[in-house]
């Protein structure tokens, strides 16, 4: 696992950072000048038609999010491994349970499998997670086996949070959390964005709200 600083610069090189994609969507393709064709001109969910002068941003989480997720997985794995190791050691040498010698390889195998899963899962999550913010709203797509697509119209966003845990902070990442008035899906989370992109997305969403308020 490389130090976080090395990965902070990885995303632009790989060309898949949200900023790069956003530029491709909004500046590169020229889509920023207006909404997507067809239905975008129609009213969405009974609300007035979205304004044309809103940028289209799309992209994926930062590549460093993979490392961040692996670090988070490592922390969880270490907690689990130390707890199960301590329990096993107690059973083996202090309590001297008969089943303990047989359980040790099984526990080791399970921990190894869990570690492999924690290592292999983040790139897959990253590969399938993408977002697109257009004049209508924010769409988030994720999952490989279970494909999910969530769409939040701009008019329905009540407020926007940026959330960054200790590991995310180390990698300069933040999660964008949208709140709608709903209860089940009231919180819609877009993880692994660089602070810059997250703030840009937030500003875009909030500017839309301010325009509507005016």
């Amino acid at each position: 696992m490389q130090p976080p600083e090395a990965h902070r610069n990885l995303a632009p090189e790989a060309g898949s950072s949200p900023t790069a994609d956003a530029e491709k969507c909004s500046d590169g393709s020229g889509a920023a000048a207006g909404p997507p064709p067809g239905p975008a001109a129609e009213p969405t969910l009974g609300q007035p038609a979205p304004r044309a002068d809103v940028a289209v941003l799309c992209g994926k989480p930062e590549l460093s999010w993979i490392e961040s997720e692996r670090w988070a997985g490592l922390v969880a794995w270490l907690c689990l491994a130390s707890a199960s190791g301590a329990g096993l050691a107690y059973s083996l040498w202090i309590d001297r349970q008969e089943w303990a010698p047989a359980a040790a390889p099984a526990v080791a195998l399970a921990l190894a499998a869990l570690g492999a899963w924690f290592w292999a899962r983040p790139p897959k999550l990253h590969a399938r997670l993408s977002y697109r913010l257009d004049p209508q709203g924010l769409a988030i797509e994720s999952g490989r086996l279970w494909r999910r697509w969530t769409f939040v119209p701009r008019q329905r966003v009540q407020f926007v949070d940026l959330v960054s845990g200790p590991i995310d902070q180390r990698f300069g990442l933040a999660d964008l959390v949208l709140h709608t008035a709903g209860s089940e899906a009231a919180e819609i989370r877009l993880p692994g964005l660089s602070l810059e992109v997250a703030e840009r997305l937030r500003a875009e969403l909030l500017s839309g709200l301010e325009r509507e308020a005016r």
């Binding site: 393709s29 279970w146 329905r156 008035a181 209860s183 899906a185 009231a186």
Partner: protein, 496 residues
């Protein structure tokens, strides 16, 4: 700054709040009293309850409210003081609850909710009946009028016959009775039934055994239904639904009385539900979601005790819809039927289940076990026929209609303006049959279940629904026709 006319809750409410605060400690308190017999020194532990009582008293003392022009002012907190202004125009509904003890004192707990979601924005424990009426009137001035149409009584109540129907035929009493019977069977309780006393048992015969089973089942069912009837009487006793100014006033509850004033124009979602017996007897129930509350079933039950209309003749449905301002359901021809892929998937799953059950039965009873197929096949056939009829969606002028459920069928109406977000979910098993699920979240997803969702629709149907809602432009690549499938950046470039 405290506005003129600011006041605290009713003085007697302190006693009620103390009782409410002590309720969680009831069992430890009883245990302490029992163990203190003969040793009064142990009662010194009752001082531990003092902080709870003190907290309730301080909370009561620090809460103030005042009626302002155009809204309500509230202040709470001793160390961290919080002031809140609620505008009348933003009040979605006002509900009030009266526990049995509060009823003796003529006091109500008043809950005021806006459409921001979360818990009620204001809870006043407890105010007098006249004061709660004054607050409700002050906050309800901005509403328009709801008039009962011709032919529908101004006030809808539940007759004794309807209460009996809900108690005896509603719910899942049969399933519970069968479950208890299985447990009793497991613990050999059947052997202990004193049938000989009634001279109807013939010792040691299959007839005797069957009779014991039947008796136990009937006794359990009777017990379960008696409890259900009691529950229905407690929950729906004193039920009434009547127009009141711009709102509809709902009232229910025998011991704890709930009263909710709901603005019908702010209904987030409405669902008509009917079980198998309801369908046979042409009856149904109406469940509505209004924004506010914490989104759980308990919150919805706190507001309406479950359904807004627990049972109703199907013939009265159209009149009630007109009264509540709900649009009528689209005609049968407007409904899109269940997708063939869904029927194929359900048929395959049913066949697998039938094969598994028959194999288990054959393993236990030999060739006789194969007879189970004779029962299962018609059952699954009927299930597939019902699924074809009772699954689908339709578009209305103001919103989306979803229909689902085979055993307990449900017709959900989602006003277009109230949909907060849309989701598509496609699992690996459904993908094999070309199916996916669509789900919508409204401003308050409590009461009816989780989100309004329709599983087992085709990508074409999903496109149609998203197009109708004006969301097709943002639709994901995997529901587009194969020719139209481009990566998102390429799609953007193509659009540009």
């Amino acid at each position: 700054m405290r506005p003129p006319g600011a006041r605290r809750a009713h003085g007697a409410s302190l006693a009620l709040r103390w009782i409410a605060a002590l309720r969680p400690w009831l069992l430890p308190l009883l245990a302490l009293l029992v163990f203190s017999i003969g040793d009064r020194e142990r009662l010194v532990w009752m001082w531990l309850l003092l902080p709870t009582l003190l907290h309730a008293a301080l909370d009561h003392w620090s809460r103030h409210y005042a009626l302002e022009p155009g809204g309500l002012w509230l202040r709470e907190g001793l160390l961290e003081r919080k002031e809140r202004h609620i505008q009348s125009a933003r009040v979605l509904h006002i509900s009030r609850e009266q526990p049995a003890l509060a009823r003796l004192l003529g006091l109500w707990e008043l809950r005021i909710e806006t459409d921001s979601g979360g818990p009620p924005e204001a809870v006043l424990r407890y105010v007098s009946s006249a004061e709660s009426e004054r607050i409700a009137q002050h906050l309800g001035l901005s509403s328009g009028g709801v008039q009962a149409p011709e032919g529908l009584p101004e006030q809808r109540t539940l007759s004794l016959r309807e209460l009996l129907y809900l108690g005896l035929f509603g719910g899942r009493g049969w399933a519970l009775a069968f479950g208890l019977w299985a447990v009793a069977n497991e613990f050999d309780l059947l052997e202990r039934l004193p049938l000989e006393r009634f001279e109807i048992a013939v010792e040691g015969t299959h007839f005797d055994l069957g009779l014991r089973h039947l008796w136990l089942l009937l006794a359990l069912l009777g017990l379960v239904k008696l409890l259900a009837l009691l529950d229905v009487c407690l929950r729906h006793g004193g039920y009434s639904l009547r127009p009141l100014g711009g709102r509809v006033e709902f009232q229910s509850g025998l011991l704890t009385r709930r009263q909710t004033r709901l603005d019908p124009r702010r209904i987030q979602r409405a669902a008509w539900r009917a079980g198998p017996l309801d369908r046979r007897l042409a009856r149904l129930s109406l469940w509505v979601d209004a924004a506010g509350g914490e989104g759980g079933r308990e919150e919805a039950e706190a507001a309406f005790g479950g359904a807004l209309v627990p049972t109703l003749r199907a013939a009265d449905r159209a009149r009630l819809e007109a009264w509540l301002g709900l649009p009528p359901a689209p005609p049968e021809s407007a409904w899109r039927a269940a997708a063939p892929g869904l029927l194929r998937r359900e048929a395959l799953e049913s066949a697998l289940l039938a094969a598994l059950l028959t194999a288990l039965s054959s393993w236990a009873y030999g060739p006789f076990g194969l007879g189970l197929l004779l029962f299962l096949l018609p059952f699954f056939g009927a299930y597939l026929r019902a699924l074809k009829r009772r699954h689908g969606f339709a578009f209305g002028p103001q919103g989306l209609w979803l229909r689902r459920g085979v055993w307990r069928s449900e017709t959900i109406y989602l006003p277009r303006q109230r949909i907060q977000s849309a989701r598509l979910i496609e699992g690996p098993w459904s993908r094999r049959f070309g199916l996916l699920a669509i789900a919508f979240d409204s401003a308050h997803a409590g009461g009816i279940g989780a989100i309004a969702s329709l599983p087992g629709i085709t990508p074409e149907a999903a496109r149609e629904i998203l197009g109708e809602l004006g969301l097709l432009g943002a639709a994901p690549d995997w529901i587009r026709p194969r020719d139209d499938r481009l990566g998102q950046p390429q799609a953007d470039a193509a659009r540009a």
